[in-house]
């Protein structure tokens, strides 16, 4: 009984959520192996081998993995699953795209987006946008599980020296072609792992007003989030969306500005340690989850907020 974790990476580094997934995977079973599929990705295999929780790394390096397509990943994963009881990865867009393709071909009913490992076959997962938690037991022989990364601490990244075994790819899938990826580069912390997140909603009124948010984000070293309404309205790009169908964030501090607090948005942020809501509508549902609520016009409150922060002698980073 061993666990195979599918590494998420960019061909040079492991993506941060792979470390969170490693923690969850090792809770399922301590015999944790990592499968790295990449192109010119030796540094990724090395990084995976340095995670102390990892017992073995299987590395398949081939140009068909250059763009991490689910179709090419799946045929190779299937070649490597024989000795494993569990195949796991993060429940972000990478894992959500990939794992069901693997599970279906193993004739396994996948357990998605777990937030706790109860035993080798029993897991806790949110349903209905986190309005209920289901304890589920998988009765399939091989289990395919995706992990909500923000529910597990990241594993230490150094100190290990697991064996790296080279292996061969499966068949190339010919009916799909990668065209391009438009990644939004930012100097800010990643939304999924940031200690502080400040998000804007429809109340921001336009994209220009998000400058008020970014000024505070700069000060707090925060990531910038948004409600779906703000993304739909074109105020900000989709990679900022927090919620049921966007990203789930669990920062130490979440500041919701001009966000009413629809169920779907709360699903993405209500596990945050401290929640602040700034909204001029005192009845807005966001106040029901806020530790500190400020009923105010955001266009007055945000400049004041920045001013107050400037007065502080020190700010945690």
């Amino acid at each position: 009984m061993s666990v195979l974790l599918i590494a998420e990476h960019n061909n040079s580094d492991l993506r941060p959520f792979t470390f969170n997934a490693a923690t969850a995977a090792s809770k399922i079973n301590e015999d944790l192996h990592v499968l790295v599929l990449g192109n010119k990705s030796d540094s990724v295999a090395k990084a995976a081998s340095e995670i102390p929780l990892v017992k073995k790394v299987i590395h398949v390096d081939n140009e068909i993995f250059d763009n991490f397509t689910a179709e090419n990943y799946t045929s190779t994963i299937l070649k490597h699953v024989d000795n494993y009881s569990h195949i796991v990865c993060s429940a972000n867009t990478f894992g959500k795209n990939l794992m069901p393709r693997v599970a279906a071909l193993l004739d396994t009913s996948q357990v998605s987006d777990i937030v706790n490992v109860i035993s080798e076959d029993t897991f806790l997962r949110p349903i209905y946008a986190g309005n209920a938690f289901a304890t589920v037991k998988s009765n399939d022989k091989k289990k395919c599980v995706t992990i909500r990364p923000t529910s597990f601490d990241p594993a230490p990244s150094t100190g290990g020296s697991a064996e790296i075994v080279k292996s061969e790819p499966g068949d190339k899938f010919e009916s799909s072609k990668f065209v391009k990826r438009e990644e939004i580069k930012s100097d800010r912390p990643e939304l999924g792992t940031a200690r502080v997140v400040i998000s804007g909603g429809r109340g921001m009124q336009n994209s220009d007003n998000f400058k008020l948010i970014s000024a505070i984000a700069d000060k707090l070293n925060a990531a910038i989030g948004a409600s779906r309404a703000a993304v739909d309205a074109g105020y900000i790009t989709n990679d900022h969306q927090v919620g049921q169908t966007g990203k789930v964030v669990v920062p130490d501090l979440y500041i919701a500005v001009g966000i009413s607090g629809a169920i779907q948005h709360l699903a993405g942020m209500k596990e945050s340690k401290v929640i602040v809501a700034i909204n001029k509508d005192g009845e807005a549902p966001i106040f029901s989850v806020a530790d500190y609520g400020l009923e105010a016009d955001l266009f007055e409150a945000l400049p004041q907020f920045l001013e107050e922060l400037n007065k502080l002698n020190s700010i945690q980073k």
Binding site: A70, P100, I127, T135, S176, L253, F305, Q316
Partner: protein, 249 residues
């Protein structure tokens, strides 16, 4: 070109879901039900492609109990040509749904299968990818833009890092994001007309698909409640609280 669109009946997205006292699930009696929101986007996109002349027929399919037919009727009212209802009672896991859809694909030979990227009840986000796998078709998940070419689709996908564009050969599976389009409303005359459109009824067992659950739902509980917060009177009070009480800045 023929497009098959899968739609699911779920608790309406505006309903505050309540967990049953006995821990067996959530309350569904007397609760408003609707089509899973991104499934509406899937239907809309298929109908738009048909209106552009690139598709000849749009077939809406649902899997579920008798009431699930409402979602097909709604799809027919916004432009789908005919419907299929595969009757199954109780929870059907995405793996079984994909197996049923595969049987229908083999029967109907669609060029494209569309559906929402995720159902807002079980939040699984699996069915489209699973169907693509067992058909050995390409998958374009989380689509926010679809460009139909002669023998392929160019699809923009929403991913965590931003946007990704892929080209998939037809036949293909597309799972739709809420930003793909703006679903239209059904007009009353179209709702009336939809009642006369053909709706075929099948049983999952007749299709030879085993729908028995592989995952046991042991219990369903309320999420942990947050303790009530406070309202602050001013920005300076807020900053002081964050600094000295919550100690997060």
């Amino acid at each position: 070109m023929k497009i098959l669109v899968a739609v699911k009946r779920v608790i309406d997205y505006n309903v505050q879901v309540r967990v049953k006292d006995d821990g067996t699930g959530v309350v569904t009696d007397n609760v408003k039900m609707s089509t899973n929101p991104p499934d509406d986007n899937a239907i809309e996109e298929a109908v738009k492609i048909k209106e552009s002349g690139k598709a000849k027929e749009v077939i809406a399919i649902t899997i579920g109990d008798d009431k699930a037919q409402e979602t097909v009727r709604k799809a027919l009212a916004v432009g789908a040509d005919r419907g299929i209802h595969v009757k199954v009672d109780g929870i059907v896991e995405p793996l079984a749904v994909s197996k049923i859809l595969k049987k229908i694909v083999e029967k109907e030979n669609p060029d494209l299968v569309f559906m929402g990227k995720q159902a807002i009840d079980d939040d699984c986000n699996q069915t489209g990818q699973m169907l693509a796998a067992i058909l050995n078709w390409p998958q374009a998940t989380f689509a926010s833009k679809i460009d139909v070419k002669e023998k392929s689709l160019e699809v923009t996908r929403e991913i965590d890092e931003g946007l990704e564009t892929i080209e998939v050969n037809i036949p293909a599976i597309v799972t739709c994001d809420l930003r793909l389009n703006e679903p239209r409303y059904a007009s009353l005359p179209n709702i009336m007309k939809a009642k006369k459109k053909p709706l075929e009824q099948l049983n999952a067992s007749d299709l030879g698909v085993d729908t028995k659950a592989r995952i046991e739902q042991i219990k369903v509980e309320e999420p942990p409640k947050r303790k009530a917060g406070i309202k602050v009177a001013s920005v300076s009070e807020l900053v002081q609280k964050l600094k000295n009480e919550a100690k997060v800045i």
